[in-house]
């Protein structure tokens, strides 16, 4: 397969040492050794894991004996028949529809403001990023009290300007907005990406617009938005995928130990129900089937991203790779 190297210590950098296909045996072995950690991880935690998950989804798992009993497609039938699966799916999509526009708007406002004030924005950039660094558990612990309908700071602030705040954590209609508020608070990651995109818009375009007499609003909608549309589109996709997997905040606000008995049905997100089925009911079969449905949905969104994105979004010509 590989031609024998002629025993020289520098042989493998010379073309003579290469096999007919151009690969050097020692280099191949070294390369494979370097990537071996990933190969092992990929085999165990992706290939075996996904196959295992597929098998699980067609079985019923008995925790006592650690055995699986085949049940055919019963778990997948559950996906369309079990009202709680459907409710959690509905809750999750509703949440994503609320969260993504709010997060994107807040991030865009933040990025535009940071971009327009120039020097002096450094302090604010750090300040806006701090919530992103705050662990989700700490955020949840704080907002649990801030969002309290009677004594919470948010409703006190609303009362100060004459608005009667809702029972955020108790009223089923306000459960999802509560989590949207928490997500919007930690939106700095998206703002940083948008800020980089805004700074990448060529200044000449703004100069040309000014010469043509375009007003600021027109400049924003006709130049800024189209020029950053690839980034906006990318964020819509990633924020949507993240919203569909919402778990930590919902669990801590409504399903944490000792509070789960009073959790409103409106807070039953897909991730929460999946967790309950898998690790509280040990109903691994249904949970695995739910995971595969989530996988299919996310793949679908990704495919939409790849196909629709090229048509809807303005890319500068010559954008490679």
């Amino acid at each position: 397969m590989t031609r024998r190297t002629n025993g020289s210590h520098v042989a493998d950098t010379r073309p003579a040492a290469r096999s007919p296909k151009g690969y050097n045996r020692r280099e191949t072995i070294a390369g494979l050794l370097f990537i071996s950690p990933w190969i092992v991880g990929f085999l165990v935690f992706t290939v075996i894991s996904m196959s295992y998950s597929l098998v699980l989804s067609f079985t019923s798992y008995d925790l006592a004996t650690n055995t699986m009993r085949p049940v055919g497609t019963a778990n997948f039938e559950q996906l369309v028949e079990n009202p709680r699966v459907l409710a959690s799916l509905g809750n999750t999509f509703t949440f994503a529809l609320m969260a993504v526009p709010v997060e994107l708007s807040v991030a865009l406002l933040m990025a535009v403001l940071l971009n327009s004030v120039g020097r002096g924005s450094a302090f604010f950039r750090v300040l806006f990023y701090l919530p992103k660094m705050t662990p989700a558990v700490a955020t949840a612990a704080v907002f649990l009290l801030l969002l309290n309908g009677n004594q919470g700071a948010i409703n006190k602030a609303l009362a100060a300007i004459g608005i009667q705040g809702p029972q955020w954590l108790l009223d089923p209609a306000w459960v999802k907005p509560s989590i949207v508020v928490m997500s919007a608070w930690a939106v700095a990651g998206s703002a940083v990406i948008l800020l980089a995109a805004l700074q990448g818009v060529p200044i000449e375009l703004y100069e040309a617009a000014a010469i043509d007499g375009a007003g600021p609003l027109r400049t924003f909608t006709r130049i800024t938005i189209p020029m950053i549309s690839p980034t906006l589109f990318f964020l819509v996709i990633t924020l949507t995928i993240a919203s569909l997997q919402v778990f930590d905040q919902a669990y801590l606000l409504f399903y944490r130990d000792g509070a789960d008995s009073s959790a409103p049905e409106a807070a039953l997100f897909y991730g929460v129900y999946l967790y309950q089925q898998a690790f509280q009911q040990f109903n691994f079969g249904l949970a695995a089937a739910m995971a595969w449905l989530l996988f299919a949905i996310i793949m679908l969104i990704t495919v939409v991203q790849l196909t629709l994105g090229k048509r809807l979004v303005h890319y500068e010509s010559g954008q490679g790779s």
Binding site: S53, V192, A196, G215
Partner: protein
């Protein structure tokens, strides 16, 4: 967005057109120079609006953290009072909390998991990335395609089987599942580090090879030191992810002794312990101290590693 406050005809085309070419060339190429051009008064009104909005937004975003700091210094019963300056300043919360909750054990566990996870992740991802960036071997591009493909895999799909795999290996109830996976690297970091390794001129490696440098030394003595700033990005990101990992702790640790918990799982435990509905007395000040204790290291991490975080996000986001 804020620019809409400026009237449409604010920029007079005539004024710009008649300006001599030299003036055009000398103009600072910054956005705000354009925004205020020729209309200083309106431009400064716009600046005032922008700064006002920015400061308002800053207050809204800073408030929850200030509230947290303040609440951690309040006695039970005043936690809810929404005063930013505690009426009864109670620093003793910070003394009592160690007896109330096994916070020291939680911190020890969290630090161990985050350091072990981030260190292993950085070394493993860098090595794998170097393997993909420098070496030529059959199947390399297909394998790298698989690396990229796993980035799209949602964690939920492998959550349950991974749990069963760790269980089979006998690590359930230990913290090994929380850092052990880092041994194998992670797709995003491999992708990120490979980009940086590809930026090193190949001649550098070839020269070292001719001088008799072995493959491992290429990585250890040339590639890794040269991309150390990028490795720091990986370390900081993974440290943060590990430190904040609540789901993992919930799944792998939440049935054992509270001593074995991490700080995030500890907050879940403390919230249940003090909840009046679960028989507690509403001592939420201890929850707030714990929340501050879990947040502070992250804020310090950001204070010292700010540019790495921003760079990591920009690179990941733009290339993603």
């Amino acid at each position: 967005m804020t620019q809409q406050f400026q009237p449409r005809a604010a920029i007079n085309p005539e004024a710009t057109v008649v300006a001599p070419p030299d003036a055009q060339a000398d103009r600072p190429r910054r956005r705000q120079a354009w925004a205020g051009q020729g209309h200083r008064a309106r431009g400064s009104v716009l600046q005032v609006v922008r700064w006002t909005l920015l400061i308002l937004l800053a207050i809204v975003f800073a408030y929850p953290l200030l509230w947290l700091v303040s609440a951690s210094f309040k006695p039970r019963g005043e936690v809810f009072d929404n005063e930013l300056i505690p009426k009864t300043f109670t620093p003793s919360n910070y003394v009592d909390v160690w007896g109330e909750l096994p916070l020291l054990s939680w911190l020890g566990n969290s630090v161990f998991i985050a350091v072990a996870g981030a260190l292993l992740m950085t070394i493993a991802s860098s090595a794998v990335a170097f393997g993909f960036a420098y070496f030529r071997f059959p199947g390399r591009n297909i394998l790298f395609g698989l690396v990229l493909a796993t980035m799209m895999l949602p964690g939920a799909v492998t959550l349950i089987p991974n749990y069963l795999i760790w269980k089979t290996l006998g690590f359930l109830g230990t913290n090994v599942p929380l850092w052990g996976g880092a041994l194998f690297g992670s797709a995003f970091y491999i992708f990120l580090m490979r980009q940086f390794y590809l930026g090193i001129p190949r001649e550098l490696f070839e020269a070292a090879r001719i001088d008799g440098c072995g493959y491992f030394d290429l990585f250890r003595r040339i590639a890794f030191p040269l991309t150390l700033p990028s490795a720091i990005i990986v370390f900081l990101f993974e440290f943060q992810a590990s430190w904040n990992n609540f789901t993992g702790a919930l799944i792998y640790l939440n049935f054992g002794s509270p001593e074995d918990f991490t700080v995030p799982l500890g907050i879940n435990y403390a919230m249940a312990k003090y909840s009046p509905t679960a028989g507690g007395h509403g001592d939420y000040q201890y929850v707030m101290v714990t929340a501050l204790v879990v947040t502070l290291p992250m804020l310090l991490l950001f204070a010292f590693g700010q540019k790495y975080f921003i760079k990591g996000i920009s690179t990941g986001g733009v290339k993603g």
